[in-house]
Symmetry: C2
Subunit: 197 residues, 2 copies
DNA sequence: ATTATCTATAGATCTATAGATAATGC
DNA sequence: ATTATCTATAGATCTATAGATAATGC
């Protein structure tokens, strides 16, 4: 309706999904409203008919961020995978060089945890929601433990994963970067991996 | 000499140490050159007599960042501490709520790893240097293992620590935040702690 | 008539530079 | 005479808003 061929909701989604990628790639403050609108094929003036403020966009974008694990979980579910093999797939996928080199499509915490800690209440609330969901989902991988222990294992392993990719991206020494990824992967499989299922 | 009562080197240090705090508190792009100079008691015009560019300041500030562990290591050395007690002191200190709430005085990676991953070559080289030194120092805590295993333990534990504080800062749910800190602390002590010394 | 999007711009940033000033060293 | 710091400003951002325009629905 009106000017654009698409509906407003689709335009909204387009702005959002692009912002979700760009914020992870360039940091929350790394790209401006005008450029985000341009990348969505629009001009800056329409922005505030879609979002109350830039911060509102950040919060919505955080909610919209598909974390790289979604396909792994989905695939595991269809194939009836769980326990150790699923854990290994999640760890390997997270610590892969491709994930390290594609922050825009990857874990929001590895990419912008620091920015989120300094962000307003709305983005932080959205991040909290994402984090809770991620922990719950990851905890179910530890079928061999009681709920409290499974949750603890998920929190511990997830912290190590987030830290590893954050550090692997921060250094410009490729050898060190890969060493971090492989070392943390091995340690997690040795110390945290659930029993075979 | 000239205008200021202090020497140029002291002024340089003053700008640097303040920037090192502010960058961790507000993110690398969270404060401008003019405000940094004002906080050091100067005006913006003098900045480029001290630093070739803003990015050069970032790199120097990263080098200058005292990580919160320095006093713990120093204290341990004077008291002849090592092994398990030192490991516990480092883990507890890192995962303390006070560290979480004082990014300006804390670990640079927990505060700005994301920013560093997007920064220029000079800041990333400085970060790499810091990271290497941190790993080497932390690895010496694992006196009970061979060098390669000690290094792996240091990389793994450090990743978990950085991830835990990053996540604990990103959420606005105080209970979840504390749960992350205590859970990761317990897991590290159970799974990675060196033998008693 | 409504509304999604457009153009244009206000006002507040930010990095970097030019040229003046004031304190020291010869 | 030198130089560390100052004031002032250019030019490029950025968020947010005002008002015009063009497409749809009554």
């Amino acid at each position: 309706m009106t000017r654009g061929k698409d509906g407003k909701a689709q335009t909204h989604e387009r702005i959002l999904n692009n912002a979700a990628v760009r914020f992870r790639e360039k940091g929350i403050d790394g790209i401006g409203v005008a450029d985000l609108m341009k990348e969505a094929g629009l001009t800056v003036g329409g922005f505030y008919k879609h979002f109350g403020s830039r911060e509102d966009l950040v919060a919505e974008a955080v909610e919209a961020m598909k974390n790289g694990w979604d396909p792994v979980f989905a695939d595991a579910e269809t194939r009836g995978l769980g326990g150790a093999p699923l854990f290994d797939a999640l760890v390997d996928g997270y610590l892969d060089v491709q994930h390290r080199d594609s922050p825009g499509a990857g874990c929001l915490f590895a990419a912008i945890a620091g920015d989120l800690g300094r962000a307003g209440e709305k983005p932080r609330a959205a991040a909290t929601h994402k984090l809770e969901r991620m922990i719950d989902r990851f905890a179910r991988v530890f079928e061999d433990r009681r709920p409290a222990a499974a949750r603890a294992a998920a929190i511990f392993a997830y912290s190590a994963l987030v830290g590893a990719v954050s550090l692997a991206r921060a250094t410009n020494d490729e050898a060190l970067s890969r060493e971090i990824l492989t070392t943390v992967g091995k340690a997690l499989k040795r110390l945290v991996r659930p029993e075979k299922t």
